[in-house]
Symmetry: C2
Subunit: 171 residues, 2 copies
DNA sequence: AGTTTAAGTCAGCCTTGTTGACTTTCCAAG
DNA sequence: CTTGGAAAGTCAACAAGGCTGACTTAAACT
């Protein structure tokens, strides 16, 4: 009876694990509640600036890849260009982001954070890093690898590519 | 120099771990991309019904605690009652949720899923469980505990209470 | 020269968050 | 017993940020 709703999880042959539907439900709720905590600190900071999560996402990925184009940002964020453009426009108007016409291809705009933009980015990421550090510390060092491994597997393949390429990966 | 941006993570004294700001940034992006994957399947299903994530959340927690009140749902979801009410109204109108006036306290409404509501809940949670199961399988069984531990630590304390009490916990 | 691509704009729609004003119900103090 | 406040829920209106579709401009490719 109970076996009906259980899943046989065979890893690399190391061990054996049964997960009931109820245990999976708990994991699903863990994602939900954790993501709320994960975004709570930045949300508070952004609210003071009159910005939202969309602004945060743009700022984060411009900081990660300075000089990135609008099109590249679109494929990472997975939103429409109209939606991104609205956010980007306010950031440029407010002097947080610099949009430079491309040298090789003048159709492209290369995006950079200004000093002001960098300041906000640091405030946001510092809050989020602190939350992440504390979570890792409280969970114990052994938890880090599993956390990362499961999250990576939960991504859609296209997004996993962006994740793996991010930062210092192959250009 | 490199030590400036590194964090000494001492767990239960078992091992020692240094996390650079860049590694923390990767973990932050992992959360972002993974959450997108996590919600992708339900989002597609909901779209066919003309519903959004807010409807999903309501359905999920009504299913978890049948007969729960609007107020209780509010404290779990962390939105305003006006916002929840709009979602709840459409679900009741569409015959997915049953809202019964309280017997002891007539101010309260007790919420239950109808058969139709249960059908949608099953479709949504089945998709999400499949994603979660596959992620666990691909990451390996040893990853499960760490994944759960870190997520639990990432929650705000108030939300952690809801998480721990969820389902079969103390009433 | 003609087509495709990158970026941006305008208009309009939907979901889902917000605040403020309101009703109904309950309960407790006078 | 009544009255006044608190609590649960509802209605209205607004804003952020998703979406689609149609269109322009400029540059690049073929």
């Amino acid at each position: 009876m109970a076996d009906r709703n259980a899943t046989n999880l065979m890893g690399r042959g190391e061990s054996l694990l049964f997960l009931t539907d109820d245990q999976l439900r708990r994991a699903i709720e863990a994602m939900f509640f954790a993501y709320r905590g994960f975004t709570a600190d930045p949300d508070r900071i952004l609210h003071d600036y009159g910005y939202g999560r969309a602004h945060h996402r743009a700022i984060h990925f411009i900081n990660r890849s300075p000089g990135t184009t609008v099109n590249n940002l679109l494929s990472i964020l997975g939103v429409t260009k109209q939606s991104l453009n609205r956010v980007l426009r306010t950031l440029v108007e407010d002097g947080l982001v610099d949009s430079r016409v491309g040298i090789r291809d003048k159709r492209e705009r290369h995006l950079h954070l200004t000093e002001k933009g960098n300041a906000l980015e640091r405030a946001l990421s510092e809050a989020q890093r602190t939350r992440m550090r504390d979570a890792f510390r409280n969970a114990g060092p052994d938890s880090v690898a599993g956390f990362r491994a499961v999250l990576e597997q939960m991504m859609d393949p296209d997004m996993r590519r962006h994740y793996l390429n991010g930062g210092d990966g192959p250009r």
